[in-house]
Symmetry: C2
Subunit: 397 residues, 2 copies
C-alpha cells in the first residue's frame, strides 16, 4: 500500500442547468480536474463514475460513464459505473483511492455527476423513490410509486428524524432554522453554490412548510452538477504544484439500522481507525445535510458533538466560518445544492480547495484535516450507505 | 501488491426462475460461495455487486446490493453497486480483486445477479435498449424505445457482426451453426445450464430465424441467475482447502470503436501483459457468445485464432471438450444462459471449477490457465466495455 494524493479537483457550479445534459456536466468536471492536475486524459488509468438517477431521469442505464464521457479523451481507460444512491460519488472516490493505493494504477479519476432538472418536474421524485427498498415501497403504496413517485418521500423521512431528534435533545425549530441560516450564509460566499442569498433563521421558519417541522429552506433543492477529483501518487500530485493533500482514509459502510449500528457512525469509526485520528482532530467538515436535522444528528454520530449537544456547538459559533470546526463551509447540500450522484465528490472538491487555501471568502484558515460525510438511501430506518473520507494537508517538505 | 486467490465460488442454475426474485438468487450465490470458502458473512470486508437491469426490471435502482443482500449477514460490509451492462459482474470481480490486491481487505466478495424473466415479457428488451447510447437511440427511433424497447436490438447488432465476419473470413452459416451446436453439446453436460439438450448444426439452422443469418439457437436466451466468488489472500484460500486458484490478471477497457481499438483486444492485451503470458498459454476459455458470431470474432481478438481462422479451430476439434483449448465448456451464454449482470461471474465460477477439477462431465483435464472474456454494451460500433480475466491453478506447494 502507498499514500494517495489529490492531484486535481474541480466542480461545475451546482444549480439548475436546464440547457445542459449529464455528459456536458461530467465532461466539464473531468476536464477541469485534469487541467488542475496538469494531466492529459490519456494519463488517466482508471475512471470511477458515480451517478444515481440517470437511469430514471435520462433513460441511460448500464453504460453511463462511457456515454457521458465519450469524446473526452478518456475512452481508453477502464470505466466503472458506481451506484450507491446519494453516496454514489464518494463510493466512486473510494474505488479510485483503492486503485491507486493498490499500486494497480498511478492516476485515477473519480467523477460524480447528476442531472435532475428535466422537463417533467416530478421525475426527480420518481427517481428518489428508488433509493429505498422498492419492493417494500410498492407493497405499501402500490405500483404507482414507480411512475408517479412518492411525493417528498425523503423529506418525510427527514421530518421524522427531526421530530425524534428534537424529542431526544430538546432542540427547537428555531435551532434547526439557525443551522439552515448558517449554511445559507456559507453558501452566499461560494460561487459554485446553487443558492447564494443569505437568509435569517426567521426567514427559514417563515418559508413554506414542506413536512412539519421542515420548511422549504431546511430542505436541499433539486440540482444538476458534477464534481471530479484526480487521485495519484505523491509524484503525480507534486507535478500539479501547490500544497499536497493526502487521502488519509476512506471508509464505506452499509446500514444495519438506526442508532449505533447505523452506517454513519460505523463508517466514521472505521475512518478514524484507519486514519489514526479522532473527531477532536478535525478542522473542517462537509456533511450530508439533505435536510437540516442531519447537521445535528451527523455531528453527534461523528463524535464531534456529544449526544444532544450539536445545537450548542452552533450557538457557540463553533460550526460557523471562523469557529473551531466550521461545518459545511460550502453551504452544504442545503445551499450548494444536491445533485445526488455528484454530492460526494462535490464535498471532496470543497475540502481539497479548503486544504489548498483556494476557498476564497469562505476559507477556513489553517485547516489541516478535513472530514466528508456522505450518506445514501434508507433501509431499516437508517442510512443504507455511508462514506466517511479524511483528507489531510501535508506540511511542505 | 499481493497475490489474490479464489477462496470460494458458487452459482445458481441459470434459467427461468419465475418464482424467485433478485435477492433470492443473489443470496443463494453469495451464501454458496461463502460456504465453499468456509467463511462466515462477517468475515467479508468488501462486497462488489454487479447488476445491469434491475433498475428497469424491478424498479430498484441505487441500492441494489443493500436490498438484495439484506438478511444475508453481509450488511456490515462496504457494498458497491456496479453497472457495466453485460460486463457488470466481471467489473465487480475486478473491484474485489483490487480491494484484496491493495491490502485494504483480506476477504472480498464479488456477486453478479440478474432477474430478467418477469410477467411483462417485453421488459427485458426495454432494459437491453439501455445498453447503448440512449440519447442516440431515442433520436433515431423515438421516445417509444424507452417504454417499448427496440425489439431484438442486440441480435440485429450481432447479425451485422455475423455478416461482416462471414464476408471477411469466408465462414458459412453452417460454421456458425456448428459452433452453436458445440456449445449446446457442452451445455448438455452442465447441471447449471439453462439448456441441457444437445442439438445438431442442422437443428440450429432449422430453428426459427431471429435476424438473418442468426437463428434462435444461435442467440443467447433471457435468463435469471446469480454467481459469486470469494476472493482472498493465500491464507484465506488455503483455509478453504482444495487446489489453489490465483487471479493472474484482470483488465477492464472501455471501447473506442470496432477493430483493433475495440475494447476486447485492448483488454486482452492488457491482461496478457499484466499476467506475463500469451494466448498460446491458455488451456480453457469462457467467452461472451451473446450470439454465436462472437465465438469466432472473440477468439481472433484474443489472438487464440489467426484472423479468419476461428472456424478452422472448431472443425479441427481444438475448441471442443477434449481439444487443445476448449471454448465455453459451460455451454457459454448460448446454453448456460445469459442473465446479463451475472454472466461475468458465471464464467469465472465455471473456470474456477475447471481449475479445481470440479467440472464433472465437462472437465477440461489438466487445465492450468483459464481466460474469461466478458463484454458489455455497444458504443461506436464496438463493445462499450470488455473485461478479460486470467485465472491460474497453482502447483501444490
Amino acid at each position: 500500500m502507498r499514500d494517495v494524493f489529490v492531484a486535481g479537483a474541480f466542480m461545475t457550479r451546482f444549480g439548475r442547468h436546464f440547457d445542459r445534459g449529464l455528459g456536458s456536466l461530467a465532461r466539464e468536471a473531468a476536464e477541469g480536474a485534469l487541467r488542475d492536475a496538469g494531466a492529459s486524459p490519456e494519463a488517466v488509468e482508471f475512471v470511477a463514475f458515480g451517478n444515481a438517477a440517470a437511469g430514471i431521469l435520462t433513460g441511460q442505464e448500464m453504460i453511463r460513464a462511457q456515454t457521458a464521457l465519450a469524446g473526452s479523451g478518456l475512452e481508453g481507460a477502464p470505466m466503472i459505473n458506481v451506484e450507491n444512491a446519494c453516496a454514489s460519488a464518494s463510493s466512486a472516490f473510494h474505488l479510485a483511492f483503492n486503485a491507486v493505493r493498490s499500486g494497480q494504477h498511478d492516476v485515477a479519476l473519480a467523477v460524480g455527476a447528476e442531472k435532475m432538472n428535466v422537463d417533467d418536474r416530478n421525475l426527480a421524485n420518481v427517481a428518489l423513490a428508488r433509493a429505498v427498498d422498492v419492493e417494500e415501497l410498492v407493497a405499501d403504496q402500490g405500483d404507482s410509486v414507480l411512475t408517479e413517485g412518492a411525493g417528498p418521500l425523503f423529506m418525510e423521512i427527514y421530518a421524522g428524524f427531526a421530530r425524534d431528534y428534537m424529542g431526544m435533545s430538546g432542540a427547537t425549530r428555531h435551532d434547526l432554522a439557525a443551522a439552515a441560516a448558517k449554511n445559507r450564509f456559507h453558501g452566499s460566499l461560494n460561487p459554485n453554490a446553487q443558492f447564494r442569498q443569505a437568509v435569517s433563521a426567521e426567514e427559514v421558519l417563515a418559508s413554506r412548510m414542506i413536512v412539519d417541522p421542515l420548511t422549504l429552506f431546511m430542505c436541499s433543492p433539486i440540482s444538476d452538477g458534477a464534481a471530479a477529483l484526480v487521485l495519484g501518487t505523491r509524484e503525480a500530485a507534486q507535478k500539479a504544484g501547490g500544497p499536497l493533500v493526502r487521502v488519509r482514509a476512506s471508509a464505506v459502510r452499509t446500514g444495519r439500522k438506526q442508532g449505533p449500528d447505523d452506517a454513519v457512525p460505523r463508517a466514521a469509526a472505521k475512518a478514524y481507525e484507519a486514519g489514526g485520528i479522532g473527531p477532536e482532530d478535525i478542522d473542517v467538515i462537509e456533511l450530508h445535510d439533505a435536510a437540516i436535522p442531519a447537521e445535528f444528528i451527523v455531528l453527534e454520530e461523528l463524535g464531534v458533538a456529544a449526544d444532544g449537544e450539536a445545537a450548542g456547538l452552533l450557538h457557540d459559533g463553533a460550526t460557523r466560518l471562523g469557529g473551531r470546526v466550521p461545518v459545511n463551509p460550502s453551504g452544504g447540500l442545503l445551499s450548494r445544492g444536491h445533485p445526488i450522484g455528484a454530492t460526494g465528490t462535490g464535498q471532496l472538491v470543497e475540502l481539497a480547495d479548503q486544504l489548498r487555501g483556494r476557498a476564497g471568502k469562505r476559507q477556513v484558515e489553517g485547516a489541516r484535516i478535513a472530514l466528508a460525510e456522505n450518506a445514501g438511501g434508507i433501509l431499516g430506518g437508517g442510512s443504507a450507505v455511508a462514506v466517511v473520507t479524511l483528507l489531510e494537508r501535508m506540511h511542505a517538505s
